[in-house]
Subunit: 201 residues, 2 copies
DNA sequence: ACCTGAACACCGTTCAAGT
DNA sequence: ACCTGAACACCGTTCAAGT
């Protein structure tokens, strides 16, 4: 059945062919399926072919990380780019994305690899920073001072990462909980705005 | 040099000998060091000896998880048991524990294993629930309603887990940030208490 | 340039045999 | 009861040889 395993001799495999299939495997079957031998049988070649394109497994993982982070950065950029959208709605959309995205299993694997691979760590760090700034800005637009917004954004982003790694017997937040959460942040932002310092020059 | 590698024939190895050494390895050298072959050379036996005590690697990991969770549960119990301590101080101590505990690398490995091992998952879930309840109760005592306290506790605990898994290029919270955070929760709790519903019967 | 084929090291697992 | 020793499967890695 179609798609995998080149039954006929076709064009040589590009690096993208390898990373694309590896990312598919990671999403569909988890980190345990990302093995050179598995990739080779899927792509219909022998291992030597892999080592023609990549130094070793690590460099494959780095390539996966870069592809995935650039993809998700683009997605988040689309959201943040909707400056037209009210900050409250934008924040809500981001938070929901934090919760239900099925691609969290990918992130878990990446963070895992990041622990022993500086390249991957740097890629992830950049991606996290981007997310934090988007959230912080939305909260600022709700009326918090930059410092307050940074604290709240950090709390929210860290909680999102934690949720992804938890799976944890802890009650999974419902959509209504998300709404309460946003209310929580918004309500406080108003307090901050009302009693607030004037914005720093 | 002393400690590891029984140079002389001594008493047979108990299951605890194996799990204790494995936990040491996990804390000192990370998850990559927890290998049967490594354990065997450390303990001065051959692999068959391991398989006399354990079914396979999975069951060793389950044993590690149980040992570690029961240890940390006791530690947290000591904190929560200090009902004498003002809830604000208790909450602060717990949150600081969430941040600086060097044993986070262990938790990361356990959550990783939990993904493919139901036993480990159950052990972790129980540990998480215990933590959540302790935090929730402290926040309730600050004057929040149970529902509000649950939301805030969940946010805090998830953020702690996320922080442990992040390492993430995001700015690591300073102690002063923790204080701001506690203020944030406390301040809101007061708001909740002032405008609050009467506690449910 | 791109890939095969065979080899090797390392690790988990099994099992008959030893004490 | 507790462990050895040797075997096997699986996976990552290397490399000479093929087209």
């Amino acid at each position: 059945m179609g798609g995998t395993g080149r039954s006929v001799k076709s064009r040589p495999l590009s690096a993208e062919d390898w990373t694309a299939r590896a990312l598919e495997l990671l999403m569909d079957e988890g980190v345990g399926a990302v093995k050179i031998s598995r990739l080779c049988s899927d792509l219909g070649v022998t291992k030597g072919s892999f080592y023609w394109r990549f130094e070793d497994l690590e460099s494959l993982k780095e390539a996966i990380a870069e592809k995935w982070c650039s993809d998700s950065r683009r997605a988040l950029g689309n959201l943040a780019g909707l400056a037209a959208l009210a900050p409250l709605e934008r924040l809500r959309a981001m938070t929901l994305g934090l919760i239900d995205d099925r691609a969290w299993s990918v992130q878990r694997a990446l963070r895992d690899w990041a622990r022993t691979d500086e390249q991957v760590a740097a890629t992830i760090a950049q991606s996290d920073t981007f997310m934090l700034e988007a959230v912080q800005q939305a909260i600022e637009e709700l009326g918090s001072t930059p410092e307050r917004a940074r604290l709240r954004a950090g709390l929210l982003v860290y909680a999102g990462i934690g949720f992804a790694h938890g799976q944890s017997g802890l009650p999974k937040p419902e959509v209504s909980d998300i709404d309460d959460l946003i209310d929580f942040l918004a309500e406080d932002a108003e307090v901050g705005a009302r009693s607030g310092q004037p914005p720093a020059t």
